[in-house]
């Protein structure tokens, strides 16, 4: 089978748009990992809650307004859920060892999964992107959904926003400092507990945003959390634990190897991103960028 440049170009674009979603979700995961040292398996469940909340909001407010409102409100719903979880549960557990936290967040993900089922039911849900993103654009001879271009735009915006936040604002700087040395942050008189609460809620907000952004392209269903969280952990691991730019690099590797794998060897496309993970970890066991762990 011949591969023309147009096919490669279009695969590159769709891979890139997939990477953007992965980045938005894993940036939050990585942030929580970095600042709180919590391997939050429930991050996937929060992503799922983001998608389900987006569904409810678009049901209440139909049309394009509903979609835009969902992009703002759904992550806030997730932030609220995570704030309750942090103040009630997580804040007592930060000192525990990682295995305990892993088990705890796994249990939490099961509980959240059941809560989603009780709230929204077991049926598939689906929401529509606004008319603006209806249809596809022909580029490099392939049709790419307009919505994917929107994701290509949102991804860099989020990245720039994160950079501005973590390097230009005081709160961001404190959070970054806490990631490197939490005792020192406490020693200079900052209320670490609230920094942690903020960092956790912020990371979960990103999960909710990812869920809301992804919602129009997929079926919103129970189980979507498990699909994502495994990929999410692989991405933050190859990028460098706790490093947000590592999440970007990891997402690009994952999204692009998947897209090109599909093109070059479609029968075994599933293997490609995982092979890339293995290769990266063999060459750089601590991830591509500097791990804060």
């Amino acid at each position: 089978m011949a591969f023309d440049l147009s096919a490669i170009g279009s695969q590159f674009l769709v891979g890139l748009s997939r990477s953007m979603i992965l980045f938005i979700v894993t940036a939050g995961l990585s942030f929580v990992l970095g600042v709180l040292r919590v391997p939050n398996i429930a991050h996937g469940s929060l992503y799922m809650i983001g998608a389900f909340s987006a569904f409810s909001i678009t049901k209440l407010v139909p049309g394009a307004e509903g979609f835009w409102l969902a992009l703002v409100l759904a992550p806030l719903v997730v932030a609220a859920v995570s704030f309750i979880a942090e103040r009630a549960l997580f804040c007592h557990l930060y000192q525990r060892e990682h295995l305990m936290l892993l088990l705890f967040t796994f249990a939490l993900s099961l509980i959240l999964g059941d809560l989603v089922k009780i709230t929204w039911g077991a049926e598939y849900k689906s929401i529509m992107a606004p008319k603006l993103f209806d249809g596809s654009v022909s580029i490099f001879g392939a049709s790419i959904p307009k919505y994917n271009f929107f994701l290509l735009l949102i991804g860099p915006l989020v990245a720039v926003g994160l950079w501005l936040f973590t390097s230009k604002t005081k709160l961001g700087k404190i959070a970054r400092a806490a990631a490197v040395d939490r005792e020192m942050v406490g020693a200079v008189g900052i209320n670490v507990s609230w920094v942690f609460a903020f960092a956790f809620v912020f990371g979960c907000f990103m999960a909710g945003l990812g869920g809301a952004l992804m919602a129009p392209t997929i079926s919103i269903t129970l189980g979507m959390d498990h699909n994502l969280i495994i990929e999410g952990f692989l991405i933050v691991t190859i990028g460098g634990l706790g490093n947000m730019w590592g999440a970007l690099v990891g997402s690009l590797i994952f999204g692009l190897t998947q897209a090109f794998g599909v093109l070059f060897w479609p029968q075994f496309a599933i293997v490609f991103p995982y092979t890339a993970v293995v290769i990266v970890l063999l060459l750089r066991p601590r991830g591509i960028l500097k791990s804060v762990w």
Partner: protein, 408 residues
């Protein structure tokens, strides 16, 4: 002999005589107990509940007259889509609840496990009503297992027969990388190739189950420029696939066939987002054929449960009819007699067409519908149009073909 001893003997004699007279009568008039193992939690619960509703609706009618002087009663167990749970529950239903037969489930793995571990081992009839693995009544079939579900061999053959009537030559095959996806693909391709030898497969792609983003797959398939694509997907991936087919404009450009793509349970939640121009196959549509029987069935179902019946309800309805008729024919509640009676039994299905429980492999035979999606003129969702009815015999593998797989 003292007086009290004498009266004791008389009393004992009376009890024995009474029980001899009354017990056989009681046992003749007892209820038939059906044990249902199915998924009632998680996403597959939609299908489990639809099937249960179809079964209940059929029993309402059946129990008005009764069967062998009693009624058909049932008890359900939620197997949570887990093979080990399903197996344990089926055993419990047989050992403790003493059910006369087992019915279920949507999970192919669970159905195969119950078929081998309980039905065959304990000699209890087991009717599979939703799981689609062709091995259930094919390679791993036996005297005690039956299926009223359409299976992957039938689905694939229906797709092959339907597609052979279309002018496409160059095909691409894509789907979920697990047994269901591959089984449908194999059956569809085998039958299409047999009916139309000049078709050519130019490539395949397989994604993991539940893969959320299928756009990269679709763009790479469209780069290969096939005449048509056979998609072998189900469950959550089905919705993802349909959404991506619409969003990329793929559906408008390249014809595709996906088994059950015309299922209302799949299309309705998608609303206007469902793509047009996708061809699918299914054994039941609540709006086709427009026979008086089907209209009455849909009306009764909607009145009872608030929504139209799906294919699991159809499968379960005919399951109940087959059970009732088989017991009537058998004349008594006996597992072996029931099996002899149900083999080759014909009942009138909810659409008015006849359904036969084929004696050779214990697979229910009924027609399949092959249609293409199109927006409903009044409603905000997509339905199947240009429907082609493929007869039961057209879509069924022959007895010889099935029995050959058992000898292997």
């Amino acid at each position: 002999m003292s007086k009290s001893k004498f009266s004791g003997i008389v009393l004992f004699g009376l009890v024995v005589t009474l029980s001899l007279v009354t017990l056989p009568g009681l046992s003749e008039a007892r209820n038939i107990k059906v044990g249902i193992v199915d998924t009632y939690s998680g996403p597959p619960a939609v299908y489990g509940n639809d099937a249960l509703n179809g079964f209940k609706l059929a029993l309402e009618e059946i129990n008005k007259q009764g069967v062998l002087g009693g009624k058909i009663e049932f008890t359900t167990r939620d197997e949570k889509f887990k093979v080990d749970v399903a197996l344990a529950m089926a055993k419990e239903l047989v050992m403790r609840e003493n059910v006369d037969l087992l019915v279920g489930t949507i999970n192919s793995g669970a159905s195969l496990a119950i078929s081998d571990g309980v039905a065959k081992a304990e000699k209890v009839p087991f009717i599979v009503w939703t799981a689609k693995d062709e091995k259930i009544t094919g390679e791993l079939g036996h005297r005690y297992v039956f299926s009223t579900a359409e299976n992957t061999a039938m689905a694939g053959k229906a797709g092959g027969v339907g597609l052979a009537k279309k002018p496409y030559k160059k095909y691409w095959i894509a789907g979920d990388d697990y047994s269901y996806g591959h089984a449908i693909a194999d059956a569809a391709w085998r039958n299409l190739k047999a009916l139309k030898p000049d078709v050519e497969k130019i490539g395949e792609s397989w994604w993991k189950i539940g893969e959320p983003d299928l756009v990269p797959y679709l763009t790479s398939i469209s780069a290969a420029k096939p005449d048509a694509v056979i998609f072998c997907t189900g469950g959550a991936s089905m919705t993802n696939c349909l959404k991506a087919l619409k969003a990329t404009g793929f559906a408008a450009k390249i014809p595709s066939w996906i088994h059950t793509a015309i299922d209302h349970a799949v299309l309705k939640p998608l609303g206007a987002e469902a793509p047009e121009n996708v061809t699918g196959t299914i054994q039941y549509l609540f709006y086709y054929p427009e026979t008086p029987e089907n209209k009455a069935f849909v009306q009764a179902f909607e009145k009872a449960y608030g929504n139209p019946p799906g294919f699991p309800a159809f499968n379960a309805y005919i399951t109940a009819q087959l059970i009732a008729e088989a017991y009537k024919k058998a004349g008594k509640i006996d597992k072996e007699k029931f099996i002899d009676a149900i083999e080759g039994l014909k009942v009138k299905g909810p659409t008015g067409s006849m359904v036969e429980m084929r004696a050779c492999d214990h697979q229910a035979v009924y027609p399949m519908y092959f249609g293409t999606t199109k927006k409903h003129p009044q409603q905000d969702y997509v339905i199947a149009t240009d429907i082609l009815t493929l007869s039961g015999n057209e879509v069924m593998p022959t007895c010889d073909e099935v029995l050959k797989t058992r000898k292997k």
